[in-house]
Amino acid sequence: MANAPMFARAMGLPARLALYTLLCLGLMVVGSQFDAMKSFRSLAAGVINPIQAVLAKPFIYLGDMAEFFTVHGELVRENRELSNEQQRLAIQLQNYRLLQAENTQLRKLLHLPLPAGTRPLAAEITHIRPDPFDRRLTIDKGALEGVVAGRPVIDASGLVGQVTLVSPTSSEVSLLTSSEQAAPAMDQRNGLRLIVSGTGSDDLLEIRYLGQHADVRAGDVLVTSGIDGVYPAGIPVARVLRVEPQRQTPFARAVCEPIGEIGRHRHVLVLLEHHKAAK
């Protein structure tokens, strides 16, 4: 307290209050009545504004960051929506391709040259019997449309099978590959008559009793011969894969593959007799 003044020369608190109050009131009067404070104010703003800008910077960054996360969330949501949409479209596209394939096959059926004396009846396969022993399928045309048991069923490329059971609105077709089916055929190359039988496998047929020296070679195309009165002549049936001589029997065996695309399409043609249609 060595430097404390001996006499209180400072003004008292109320006196200072009065002084400062008067000063401020004076400033206010001057500021409100005249433009004297304008230049001072602009000078001060030149100092304050940069400070304010610097202080605002971190908050601007924070705002940007918040925006970044918002945008990120939006993008994630949008991405999810788009992938859902894409899946939906992929399913649609698949349906479209299916329809296109079906359309192609139906067009082929339409342009098929038909054996004389027959009338085609287009039928749709409604279901395939899940029978492990018997290869059959059901089509949606029956006796009402003139289907008769025994009529051949073909598709755009070849023989498929034979109608074996007829009900008014549907029929059952035994496939050529069914093991108890057989079709009289003819080697297209040399006219040799044969009988092609099913094996029970979807993509194999066989010629069971073939003479050891019969002129059948791999690659030969077999067509229906038409001599049995069931199948009209000239429908492609099978292509020979190989000929196997067998030890136990005096006969050889030829393994063939069916030409008709059995079980691959949804539409087939039933060949009806012409005179039935006239009725």
Binding site: T21, L23, C24, L27, M28
Partner: protein
């Protein structure tokens, strides 16, 4: 074991008065807090941090914060707010005057009691600012800004608590009246 409480704080209880550096540092912090980019829609709720810190130091460091400094801070506020120069200067000075008058009394109160004393000062300062602005040149005034008085007073509680802790001031340190009327010998 009861000992008589000494007349003035002794030993570790005796703390040095807050230094100028600390006081000005905190005033600067309060001023910068006012400058922060508060959302405009909530302007009328944002407390006046400068005033809060200033009033605290008026009470706890009257050797630093006097009426003159209060007026300067008010003028600074005028510049930043953009109000008529002298408006905040006047109201800050009056608020500081009220705090300086109440200082001795306030030291005897806990935080809540001090809050109740300061609330009218904050509210009065804000009301006076608005009224003076209206009287001088502003055509209209947004009365919602009175809420600043309230929020400033509420903000004063945590600020005062924090500064009390930082400076080491506790109510036990207040200088008891020396007339020996028995209150100090509890």
């Amino acid at each position: 074991m009861k000992t008589e409480k000494p007349l003035v704080p002794q030993g570790p209880l005796l703390i040095a008065p807050a230094s100028r550096r600390i006081v000005f540092g905190w005033l600067l912090l309060g001023f910068l807090a006012n400058l922060l980019p508060w959302p405009d829609a909530w302007r009328w709720l944002i407390p006046d941090f400068t005033l809060v810190v200033m009033l605290y130091w008026c009470i706890h460091a009257p050797h630093v914060v006097q009426l003159g400094l209060a007026m300067l801070l008010g003028l600074l506020a005028d510049i930043t707010v953009g109000s008529l120069i002298g408006l905040h200067g006047l109201t800050y000075t009056l608020a500081a005057y009220a705090a300086l008058i109440l200082r001795r009394r306030l030291e005897n109160f806990e935080l809540a009691g001090r809050f109740l004393h300061l609330l009218p000062i904050f509210l009065g300062q804000q009301l006076l600012t608005l009224l003076l602005g209206l009287a001088f040149h502003e055509p209209d005034v947004d009365w919602r800004f009175l809420a600043i008085g309230m929020t400033s007073a509420v903000t004063w509680i945590p600020v005062a608590h924090l500064l009390d802790r930082l400076t080491g001031w506790t109510p036990e340190m207040r200088i008891e009246p020396a007339d020996g009327n028995g209150r100090s010998a509890k």
